[in-house]
């Protein structure tokens, strides 16, 4: 494991250098605050940010992605046969992501890279991607990542972790991928004090997180008990079933597949979908197993906090980033819902 220390004044230079061999995504300051997106050549990921509304999800699972192209022109060879679209194999790096967002990528991986099937679109992006984390010294008040098996300094899912230590960024290359990236960027090697400083910052940061959730009792309840609990209609009353929480969520993975045609040329693409939408699970007959708005809200929370928990036996499908809490237009708060679920006592 290699220690890293880089002066803030050298950061832009390092990023310029690394862009010769990597495509970067990262936080960029725009008019309304920081956004997380693919960077253009010469753009520097700005690590001096507090939060990005969108997460690293976009890098491994873009909101819209073309899967195949085809021709409907019967005079052409291979008409009506789907062709895979080319993919730029240049290594990519997501620079400056929060450590808990990296954990979200691992959660996505559980869905997209299973024993039975590998989603090639996710897989090629995932394998190609170096995750360069930026630890969070001042977690937001809605951050509850430490109760979700991760935290503002969690190293477990990153290739490199960096932290703000005043004049410089200090950190570690945690994996081989990370070391390669550090070398390509020419990060200066840090001294032995780095480890201690990281530990100190970590303790401070984690200490600032006051927001917590527990799901210890959810684990022990049956799916049906929770599903039939009486609080769902009330908990979901305010929900307007927009897609805000699902799109902002770094772990929500649902997608839709659509064909689009112009003239005789067509593509099959996939787009983020949201379980909040009426068209998400409606049958062609018009029958919808989750017809009522509150049933869809229940499904979302049950998925994140119970179905996932039972299916993978590895915690909840939430990294505690708090994006859904701060972005929800009606203030539906996953922390409160989780508490409600955990406190529930089935009457049996």
């Amino acid at each position: 494991m290699k220690m890293i220390s880089i002066k803030k004044s050298d950061w832009a230079g390092a990023m310029e250098k690394v862009q010769k061999s990597y495509r970067l995504a990262g936080p960029v300051k725009e008019k309304k605050g920081h956004t997380f997106r693919e960077l253009k050549d010469g753009e520097t990921p700005d690590l001096e940010y507090s939060e990005t509304r969108m997460s690293v999800k976009e890098v491994v699972l873009p909101q819209s992605e073309v899967m195949f192209s085809y021709s409907l022109d019967e005079n052409k060879e291979g008409h009506h046969i789907l062709e895979e679209v080319p993919f730029d194999e240049t290594p990519r790096a997501a620079v400056g992501i929060r450590p808990y967002d990296a954990k979200a990528v691992e959660i996505l991986k559980k869905n997209f890279m299973t024993e039975d099937y590998k989603d090639p679109y996710f897989e090629r992006r995932y394998e190609n991607l170096t995750l360069v984390g930026m630890a969070e010294n001042n977690p937001s008040p809605v951050n509850f990542s430490t109760s979700c098996g991760t935290g503002p300094f969690d190293e477990s899912c990153l290739d490199i972790i960096l932290a703000d230590a005043g004049d410089s960024y200090i950190g570690k290359a945690l994996t081989e991928k990370g070391e390669k990236f550090a070398a390509a960027a020419g990060f200066a090697e840090g001294d032995s004090g780095v480890e201690a400083k990281l530990a100190e910052l970590k303790e401070q940061a984690e200490g600032k997180i006051k927001s917590k959730v527990s799901f210890d009792k959810i684990e022990k309840m049956t799916i049906l008990d929770l599903y039939e609990a009486p609080f769902w209609e009330e908990a979901a009353f305010a929900c307007i079933n927009c897609g805000t929480c699902t799109y902002a969520c770094p772990t929500c993975w649902c997608f839709d597949i659509q064909d689009e045609v112009k003239g005789k040329d067509g593509v099959r693409m996939r787009n983020w979908d949201t379980c909040m939408s009426e068209v998400y699970s409606v049958h062609t007959t018009g029958h919808d197993p989750r017809h009522e708005a509150w049933q869809r809200t229940r499904n979302r929370f049950m998925h994140k906090l119970k179905y996932y928990l039972d299916k993978y036996e590895d915690g909840i499908m939430c990294v505690g980033c708090g994006r859904c809490v701060s972005q929800c237009p009606v203030n539906i708060d996953i922390r409160k819902v989780c508490q409600q679920m955990n406190d529930y006592e089935p009457s049996k």
């Binding site: 789907l82 299973t114 049906l224 997608f255 064909d259 699970s281 049958h283």
Partner: protein
């Protein structure tokens, strides 16, 4: 080397189109693979489904109606309902499209071998049941199963699928076909009249550890068949059902078809009633 892209359909050509019902809303499509080697890759078992993939329109999950014992083609019977199925109904023999699969699990043949099979089906959900019967009565397989009883019903004789085949199987003595319609004014109607659950009640083989029921049909039929099977003493792990939900990916990734933690497309579509009892009935 990456595994094959599970979203990429095998190119197929429509080889034959048969209009199945008097209202013309159900058609059977027989597909042949453009690349003959794909047929082997598409090895399937009765109860599985596939995505019929029409470039420019989209995909629809449909149960496979042909039997693994039938070679050289794959058959699907499709109800004209939405955007893709309506387009499919307008397509012609010779047209090229895609077939993606086989997907999902199958009726648990590993367990069902050596057992008595009681099949209860209604309406156009009969397709994978047809595949199952065809497979079981194949000379190579018939000895692997005990008795085979089939109750299959539709609203009218004109709504029954694969009518010629039903007549033919009705004459066989190694399978007990109990065909029924809700009603008919045809004086020559040779089979039952009445709803599927009623007929099932009359003809069901006795419940035993060695008898499994496979139930597939519209929600109403399932709702009223279950008490009949309960009354007859069928245990819930001996009642096997195939579910439908809205699907897109078919490989357990896009999310929408879940019933509780189970994904109908990948963990199903076949479940025992015992499994279904433990999960929200969001189908």
């Amino acid at each position: 080397m990456r595994a094959a892209n599970p979203y990429k359909p095998y190119p197929v050509r429509i080889d034959e189109i048969i209009t199945e019902t008097d209202d013309k809303l159900l058609k059977t499509f027989k597909f042949v693979f453009l690349n003959p080697e794909d047929e082997e890759k598409f090895a399937y078992k009765s109860g599985q489904f596939a995505e019929l993939s029409i470039p420019g329109q989209g995909e629809i999950p449909i149960g496979i109606a042909s039997s693994p014992t039938e070679k050289g083609f794959v058959k699907f019977t499709v109800f004209k309902a939405g955007k893709v199925t309506s387009y499919l109904h307008s397509m012609k023999v010779g047209d090229v499209m895609g077939l993606r699969g086989p997907l999902g699990n199958w009726y648990p043949w590993e367990i069902l071998e050596g057992k008595n099979i009681f099949i209860v089906g209604g309406g156009f959900a009969y397709t994978t049941l047809r595949s199952s019967i065809k497979m079981m009565i194949d000379p190579a397989n018939r000895s692997k199963f005990g008795t085979i009883d089939v109750v299959y019903g539709a609203r009218t004789p004109g709504h029954l699928l694969y009518l010629d085949e039903l007549n033919e199987w009705g004459d066989r003595d190694d399978v007990n076909m109990h065909i029924t319609v809700d009603g008919t004014d045809d004086p020559n109607w040779r089979f039952h009249k009445g709803f599927v659950p009623q007929i099932a009640d009359k003809v069901a083989p006795p419940a035993s550890d060695d008898t499994y029921a496979i139930v597939c049909g519209p929600p109403m039929m399932i709702k009223f068949t279950q008490p009949v099977l309960d009354k007859l003493g069928y245990k819930h792990d001996h009642i096997i059902m195939s579910l439908e939900n809205r699907m897109k990916c078919g490989i357990g990734m896009c999310g929408r078809c879940n019933i509780g933690k189970e994904l109908v497309c990948k963990d199903g579509p076949v479940f025992t009633l015992e499994q279904i009892n433990k999960t929200p009935r969001e189908y």
